[in-house]
């Protein structure tokens, strides 16, 4: 995802002279092309995220379209007040791009895990929260974000994630979920980095005779109301899937939506990380397996839930 981000950003920098890149001293060589093409519009802001976010807001308030980038905890919770007060209160058109969503950097330990950022950022007025599911969505999200003229948060994984979409998404729209595959029995609403696991879960469910629709619900705020109404009216079971805490994340947002909306027949099942720091060493696949977030674990739990529901 991060290579797609750097490449798309370079293209956008070519097209729009207002686009400015701010990095929190990461991405060695990643932005070489952007830097060589736009040397006056790249700033390594150092390991000083509060200042970086304030600088980005100041630029956004003065006609530029800054993109502020570093590892997720440092570009979100580390400088949360600057995001809230400088960026969002001023409605500054700043695009915040975080790398290392959820457990992408599991091996680096909990200082680098990011399972709370959606909760914090979606609570802030004027903020838009987008969690792309693959590199094609990253390109679409970045392009759409820079057209928004308002604050946008984009939550990336790392690099080398499988592609889910067959090709570039010409009609990517913030706030409009994308159907990956259709189904009849259950609906899997996945946000961000978990999309390949959701696709895998659907395949495994299919093997057991359960037809699952998979939706890339890339925008957590604003929620796609039309899509949620459809999901909760058409399916027996709707599952939210995210690499984020069950507190305050995508599943929580959908649960809030459900509580505020006329009762729907479908049951809601939420998958996410628990209310705990994941302290063991190991990479993302290991961490996901330990937390029950791999495709086959999701499928098993969905089957179990369907069986439980069927029992009189």
């Amino acid at each position: 995802m991060r290579n797609a981000f750097a490449d798309e950003l370079t293209r956008l920098g070519d097209e729009d002279s207002r686009v400015v890149m701010l990095s929190g001293d990461i991405g060695n060589r990643l932005f070489d092309k952007f830097k060589s093409r736009h040397p006056t519009r790249f700033f390594n802001c150092g390991v000083a995220e509060a200042n970086m976010m304030g600088v980005a807001a100041g630029m956004g308030m003065n006609g530029l379209r800054p993109v502020a980038y570093t590892i997720t905890p440092f570009v979100t919770t580390r400088c949360l007040e600057q995001i809230r007060t400088d960026v969002c209160y001023h409605e500054a058109p700043v695009t915040i791009v975080a790398v290392g969503a959820g457990l992408s950097y599991a091996g680096l330990g909990p200082t680098h895990h990011a399972c709370e950022d959606i909760a914090f950022l979606r609570a802030i007025p004027n903020m838009v929260v987008v969690c792309p599911g693959d590199a094609h969505e990253v390109r679409g999200a970045l392009r759409a974000a820079l057209r928004q003229d308002r604050p946008v948060y984009i939550r990336l994984g790392k690099k080398g994630e499988p592609l889910v979409h067959p090709g570039p998404l010409q009609d990517f729209e913030i706030g409009k979920a994308i159907t990956i595959s259709d189904g009849e029995d259950v609906c899997l609403l996945s946000t961000g980095t978990m999309l390949p696991e959701a696709v895998d879960a659907a395949r495994r469910l299919q093997e057991q005779g359960i037809s699952a629709q998979v939706v890339s619900f890339h925008t957590v705020k604003p929620l796609d109301d039309v899509r949620l109404r459809d999901a909760f009216s058409r399916f027996r079971l709707v599952a939210t899937i995210e690499e984020h805490s069950l507190i305050g994340g995508f599943g929580a947002a959908v649960a809030e939506w459900l509580a505020d909306t006329a009762t729907r027949p479908a049951k809601l099942l939420r998958f996410g990380t628990p209310d705990a720091f994941f302290k063991k060493s190991g990479e993302q696949e290991y961490a996901r397996a330990e937390l029950g977030l791999t495709g086959h674990q999701l499928a098993d739990k969905i089957v179990h839930a369907l069986q439980r529901d069927a029992t009189p």
Partner: protein, 282 residues
């Protein structure tokens, strides 16, 4: 003390500027009394700095508050909002009568300056340590877009406690933002204690100099000297400019000066009368 020398022009203006500063103080005292609002002493402390900036230095047009080429003045010590509001009203950004709505229900003049609501307010402040990073972003916008405006940020001394101030200080020096000027209202008090007994600021000029700034100490109540020093931005040093302005909290009213109770206290009607008399106001 590394005091900036005054130009003849500033000397000629000094008497008029002094009268303006007295009027500004009077309005702030009236507002504090009417609203029973805090931070009066903090507002009086920086009245001469605001006077120098708005009546002598800034390239601004109150009729064109969003002019891209205007100089930017950020009241980073947002708790002195009353002083900023009075300044902006006196300059014609909005009617003087609106000052009567300070802190009133439904008004535009909250206890800290709002975002995207009031003409002339460059940034919403009130949480300390935000104004300078914002100002650096504004200054870089000017550089990128080849607009030659200047950015002034007025910080309180207590605000220098915030780490983000020093992040921005290092950033501005690295980026050679010589069109940025920080003025520190160094009144030696923060909300509840002596500044240097809270977090050690001294030697404050040396700190800013060590962070790569062209740093000077200045009498923060000498409007002419302030005007001269602020006018010389950029000053050819290639560095951002820091003016460590020595001030007295509550300046201008004998019974408020250097008495930190006035950080939160609002004056009674009788105290307003006495204060106005001391300021030479009717």
């Amino acid at each position: 003390m590394n005091v900036v020398v005054r130009s003849p022009a500033a000397r000629a203006d000094a008497a008029a500027l002094k009268a303006t500063a007295a009027e500004l103080r009077g309005r702030v005292i009236d507002m504090s009394h009417a609203a029973q609002a805090a931070h009066l002493a903090s507002s009086l402390s920086c009245a001469d700095i605001l006077t120098a900036a708005y009546w002598h230095v800034l390239n601004i047009d109150p009729n064109k508050p969003r002019d891209p080429l205007r100089d930017r003045f950020i009241l980073s010590k947002g708790h002195a909002a009353a002083a900023l509001y009075a300044t902006l009203a006196m300059k014609g950004y909005f009617p003087i009568a609106e000052l009567d709505t300070f802190c009133r229900d439904g008004g535009r003049l909250a206890e800290h300056p709002p975002a995207n609501l009031l003409p002339g307010v460059e940034a919403a402040t009130g949480s300390l340590g935000h104004g300078l990073p914002l100002g650096c972003g504004m200054a870089l916008s000017g550089r990128i877009k080849r607009e030659t405006f200047r950015v002034y940020a007025l910080l309180s001394d207590g605000e220098n406690n915030e780490g983000s101030v020093w992040e921005a200080a290092m950033f501005a020096a690295a980026q050679k933002l010589d069109n940025v000027c920080v003025i520190v209202d160094y009144n030696k008090w923060q909300a509840t204690a002596r500044s240097n007994e809270t977090l050690m600021l001294a030697p404050l000029r040396d700190k800013w100099a060590a962070f790569g700034w062209d740093a000077h100490e200045i009498d923060g109540h000498d409007v002419g000297a302030l005007a001269d020093a602020m006018q010389r931005v950029p000053n050819g040093s290639g560095k951002p400019v820091a003016l460590i302005a020595h001030t007295v909290k509550g300046k201008g009213v004998s019974f408020m000066e250097d008495d930190n109770n006035w950080h939160y206290r609002a004056p009674t009607a009788d105290e307003v009368t006495r204060a106005r008399r001391e300021l030479g106001l009717a």
